[in-house]
Symmetry: C2
Subunit: 334 residues, 2 copies
């Protein structure tokens, strides 16, 4: 099927064809100094032979692999897909390849993937961290150039995150303004920042604190559905739910339908992350939009442009009001 796998042109052959030494070829091709005459000869020979320098040789000598590693919990989640798109978009303009891994929010899998990346001598990594900060100590000690995206678990690693505090506060204030007092937060693991912001917001508005009002799911759709259904079923007193991501939001809508809980009549719903279908949904979902693509792009910039790196870049979120929130019902459901 495939041909005789034609051998690759090496720098030695180019040198021979141009009648110069390999060192000169290398210099010309990587912008070193050379006389106009030899430069031309080398360039001509390289073009004629269609020479492509092998990244393998270069990387071995340079002791580092170009390219970026990217670790996301779930590429199927629109938020992380867009984040990935941002990374790829920035990396492309630098001509850097990106190696993607999905962690499923499992610290063990994450560690395994980091291991693979280190084995490849990859020295730049963008990650949506699953585990706690401790886990990253060995990777950092190995000289890995890490940037966190979406979540921040260590102060000594540059991070690009959405403004969770403001986003949560906006959502809670909006719901409180509608008269809601029992507001639940439906989140996934790894959102400690947001849960903290949620509790703070609840407290600052003088609403009743209740630890059971934050529910956690794992990263699968099944787990999200179970968490949403559990919340709606066991807490008929909550009148508003904040879903901490589009998968959670989707699960909440589905669970509400199944349980015959109407949105927004019976319970109001705000979803983190604006996705195209939020508008198509019935009812159209009120959301806190997050700049997923920007987060990825900025993280890639940070990891590619070494040097002065701000500890944390925080990107604004935005409340988009549609039709999934209404005034508090006067009598509790059921």
């Amino acid at each position: 099927m495939s041909g005789p796998a034609q051998r690759r042109i090496t720098i030695k052959e180019v040198a021979e064809a141009a009648g110069v030494g390999v060192a000169t070829v290398s210099r010309v091709l990587s912008g070193g100094s050379a006389s106009a005459e030899t430069r031309e000869k080398v360039l001509a020979a390289a073009a004629r032979l269609d020479y492509r320098p092998s990244a393998l040789g270069r990387n071995l000598r340079r002791q580092r692999t170009g390219g970026i590693g990217l670790l996301v919990p779930d590429i199927t989640d629109s938020f992380y897909a867009r984040l990935t798109d941002g990374v790829l978009s920035c990396a492309r303009s630098y001509g850097e390849p990106v190696t993607v891994g999905v962690t499923g929010d499992d610290p063990e899998r994450e560690a395994e993937l980091i291991g693979t990346l280190i084995e490849q001598s990859m020295d730049r990594l963008i990650a949506v961290p699953s585990g706690d900060g401790e886990m990253w100590a060995p990777a950092l000690r190995a000289g890995l150039n890490v940037v966190f995206a979406d979540r921040r678990v260590r102060a000594d690693v540059p991070s690009v995150v959405p403004d969770d505090r403001a986003g949560v506060l906006t959502a809670v204030e909006y719901l409180a303004g509608l008269g809601h007092r029992k507001i639940a937060y439906l989140g996934r693991h790894g959102q400690s920042q947001r849960v903290a912001a949620f509790s703070a917001a609840i407290a600052s508005l003088g609403l009743p604190a209740d630890r059971d009002l934050v529910v956690h799911a794992r990263s699968s759709r099944d787990s999200a559905y179970a968490a949403a259904a559990g919340l709606l079923q066991h807490r008929p007193d909550v009148t508003a739910v904040i879903a901490g991501g589009n998968v959670l939001g989707e699960a909440a809508v589905l669970a509400a339908r199944e349980l015959d809980v109407r949105i927004p009549r019976d319970v109001s719903l705000i979803m983190f992350d604006d996705v195209p279908w939020a508008e198509l949904c019935s009812p159209p979902l009120t959301v806190i939009a997050q700049p997923a693509q920007d987060i990825g792009y900025r993280a890639a910039e940070l990891v590619l442009r070494q040097g002065r790196r701000p500890p944390t870049v925080t990107l604004p979120t935005q409340l988009v009001v549609r039709a999934s929130c209404g005034p508090k019902v006067s009598v509790p459901r059921r």
Copy 2:
């Protein structure tokens, strides 16, 4: 910030620590023959020093980079995100890293990305091809091990594709059974297979052929919306639309709303690719489900397991009836 970038342990140091030669270490670690005694010494030394072989050195020597390249048109599109997930899932079980690039369905960008991959000596590639078959000749000649996914543009390259013919036929038959005769296909570039299948299905059912009933969009959401709006606006006689992907379907629903065309009363809609939100949509969308994840998984298997490779794997699609199709209206719109 980052520490003194501790130097990497090399095989030479392990050999020294174990009191053997480097060749022996290499043999032990890659499963060659060695006496039980030395094997143990080597393993102990490697463990003690936390030795990780450098993929760089290995790859240079072996003249090939492990890992898989993956080229998709748009990672933001749920279909390709799921396909990617399938590839990653299979690759993970082999411990192979995956390098992802997005082509935007632009043959030029695609060629550029292939170049980058070849530069990395990557020799395995899974691609959703954007251009025509010709484009791939150089890559194949370079000894690249290619598998196509989702689309098949060359007979001499193994491909994993959904059963477009059956899927389209099912959709057209379903709509015809509802009484529709003017059925439009809203597709994107690169779907020549499906367009051919569409024309064949129309013909086989004795429906009027009309070339203008297939409309093409580029891969952006804007382009999809424009195409959908154009179709609905200029062809009030079509009573049913088949959208060739979830982005197109989304655009069709949006455009229909904007133009006050009601689904399914005014026009019926079938969307290719089942996505979670299809059920949440108003109305819930009737779809032709495609096994996106499976396509990716199978393609990865094919590219990883060399040897006997079937020319084409075709995976079944499935009609999922929801609420976006109705009987043909008796009077044309407007």
